[in-house]
């Protein structure tokens, strides 16, 4: 070899794994979940103060915060979907989640609202449809090696178009779907009315994904493939299958959101996940804010959940601070600013780590 390695490699000291003085600041910088929790506490305290000072149009209190969790459920679940595909590496991203929500929602709407299926078969149909749509993305990205951005942009178009065509651009809001709204009724929790789907959908999904990512063999493989695809291949991992599975799971999670959204709206809307900026953008924002590195291999379930909570309670506060449509506009501002600052911060932390 011409690269004669005369620099002794042994110079690099083994320096990790021990606590150092003043490590609180550093762990805040490097541990995204801890940082987000601190931000969350500060945010809530600030809104409480504003509320107490009478600056808000309505009180920002625990019951308001509890009811705001309703909008967290789809956001957090889709954030977890983005976590899976982004961690899988090679520019992983899924722009089609919103379109899948729309299309699966329509499938569910037809089955449950038009064809008179009972809930469970309709739910299974929806989940199966989500798996198929996700698998199409997975096939394109993992096996045909189409860049994820392009593949999911294309399927975003295709799925959202199919959703709109399926019922001539009209929502399905038959009686069964209107009644389905009951599954999103609040649960009384010691005086706090918490939306039911937090317990029936979000928590189970979060626990399952957490177990999958942190405890199951698949999680190991996923992080391995995202961290170093070549090394994963040399470690005899089936790289394409691992990545394919990530996109398929993203479809499955989108299907879960599709059912929740249909229940929340009491109707299956053909643009449920694509109206406005759609659901994909906020989901990606939450994943990045939660510390998921766009380069792959890095990201935690806890980070995504806390990030979702942060965004949701921030948005809820903004709605009370501004009057009328100003509130929802400032939510856009908050989303963009938070994404930008957290991404710049990510880059800064990475650079610092690289420099030491």
């Amino acid at each position: 070899m011409t690269t004669e390695t005369q620099t002794p490699d042994a110079q690099a000291p083994a320096r990790a794994g021990r606590p150092s003085p003043g490590s609180l600041v550093r762990s805040l910088l490097e541990d995204r979940v801890a940082l987000l929790v601190v931000l969350l506490v500060l945010l809530v305290a600030w809104f409480f103060a504003l509320s107490a000072g009478g600056y808000l149009v309505a009180p920002y209190d625990l019951s308001y915060m509890a009811s705001a969790l309703e909008s967290m459920v789809p956001l957090a679940i889709l954030g977890l979907a983005q976590l899976l595909v982004i961690v899988s590496g090679r520019g992983g991203i899924d722009l089609s989640v919103g379109a899948m929500v729309s299309l699966v929602g329509m499938a569910f709407g037809f089955a449950y609202g038009e064809w008179g299926w009972s809930f469970l078969p309709a739910l299974l149909l929806a989940l199966g449809a989500g798996v198929v749509l996700g698998a199409v993305n997975g096939l394109l990205v993992a096996y045909l090696r189409v860049p994820a951005l392009i593949a999911t942009l294309a399927t975003y178009y295709a799925y959202s178009s199919l959703a709109l065509i399926s019922n001539d651009n009209a929502p399905i809001s038959t009686r069964p779907l209107q009644d389905l709204n009951s599954i999103t009724r609040a649960v009384d929790l010691g005086g706090l009315a918490v939306p039911r789907q937090v317990f029936t959908f979000l928590l189970p999904v979060a626990v399952v994904i957490w177990l999958l990512v942190n405890r199951a063999p698949y999680g190991r493989r996923l992080y391995a493939v995202g961290t170093n695809e070549v090394a994963a291949r040399y470690a005899s991992l089936d790289v394409a299958r691992v990545r394919f599975t990530a996109y398929t799971l993203s479809g499955l999670l989108s299907a879960v959101v599709a059912v929740i959204t249909a229940a929340q709206f009491a109707s299956a809307r053909p643009d449920a996940g694509t109206v406005g900026n759609g659901m994909a953008l906020p989901a990606i924002t939450i994943a990045v804010l939660g510390g998921v590195a766009i380069a792959g291999g890095v990201g935690r379930v806890g980070g995504v959940l806390v990030a979702a909570l942060l965004i949701v309670w921030l948005n809820a506060g903004i709605l009370l601070y501004f009057e009328g449509s100003q509130g929802s506009q400032y939510q856009l501002f908050a989303l963009g600013a938070v994404l930008l600052v957290s991404a710049l911060f990510n880059a800064l932390v990475l650079r610092r780590r690289g420099a030491t």
Partner: protein
Amino acid sequence: MSAVATTARPRRVTARAIEGQELVLLGVLAVLWLVLSFAVDTFFTASTLQDLMAAVAPVAIVGVGMTAIIVTGGIDVSVGSAVAVAMVVVGQLVRDSGLPFLPAVAVAVAVGAALGLINGVLVAYGRVHPIIVTFATLNLYRWLAFQIFGGEEVNNIPGTLAALGGGAEGRTAGLPNAFLLAVVLAALMWAYMRYSPTGRHLYAIGNDAHAARLQGVRVTRRLVSVYVITGVMVGLAAVVFIGGGGRIGQAVGTGFELQVIAAVVIGGTSILGGRGTVFGTVLGALLVGTVSAAVTLLGWPSELTALFIGVFILVAVGVDLLRQRRRQSL
């Protein structure tokens, strides 16, 4: 000393006017138009073609800039929101202050360029992935547009900018001025990317930014420049949209970025950077516009357009991947 024959097999030469993907696109367009001319009597009429060209113009104009960005390995998903900002600013100025044509164009270009500059600086100096930066500015610019709208649509805009619109006063020799503008901009950009040093550097950056920097390419400066160029194009597209007449709704420009990116990708530009031409993008925009027009003319539900765009993106990328694989196996 005699020249050594290095290899015997025929060479692919760079100095060609048209790339493979562009030939394919031309073929697809020709077939599509042929089929449409049989299926729809009114397809090859002046008004249909004029509408088609006028509709294609904004996508092609912004696509010209987007091609340069994607060639450097970047992307800009904020152009839809940026168009909204430029439109509401210029729309209000034209309506309320009676801004004449040229100053209106200048304001639109300045606004677009400023927004592009913000993207460029964040990408080049912040070292954040362009898709994240522009996702963020997509939201921020949309908020900015809402602030300027002030809760109202912009109505009753005078026809100051009709020269760039789709109407009769917006045509020269029967061709929409907006389309001519797109062609001129594309030609300029094509020449820039093909024949100027800094234009060639964009491809080097897309191939290997680190190696390019080592060999004297001013990478940060080039990166900022392509986002600013795209910003300028956004301003011009905004003027074309306003010239098209009608009110400016609050949701204006939503989804525009995806149309532009689709046109660029269908035009054969590699999303991984380093490869692509403006000519391909114009053809890609024409294809998207033709499909959209065809769906309308054939009386199909307009929602089908998106499905076709999705399929065309996949076909274009698939063809490109196949050609690359064949190239590698040489």
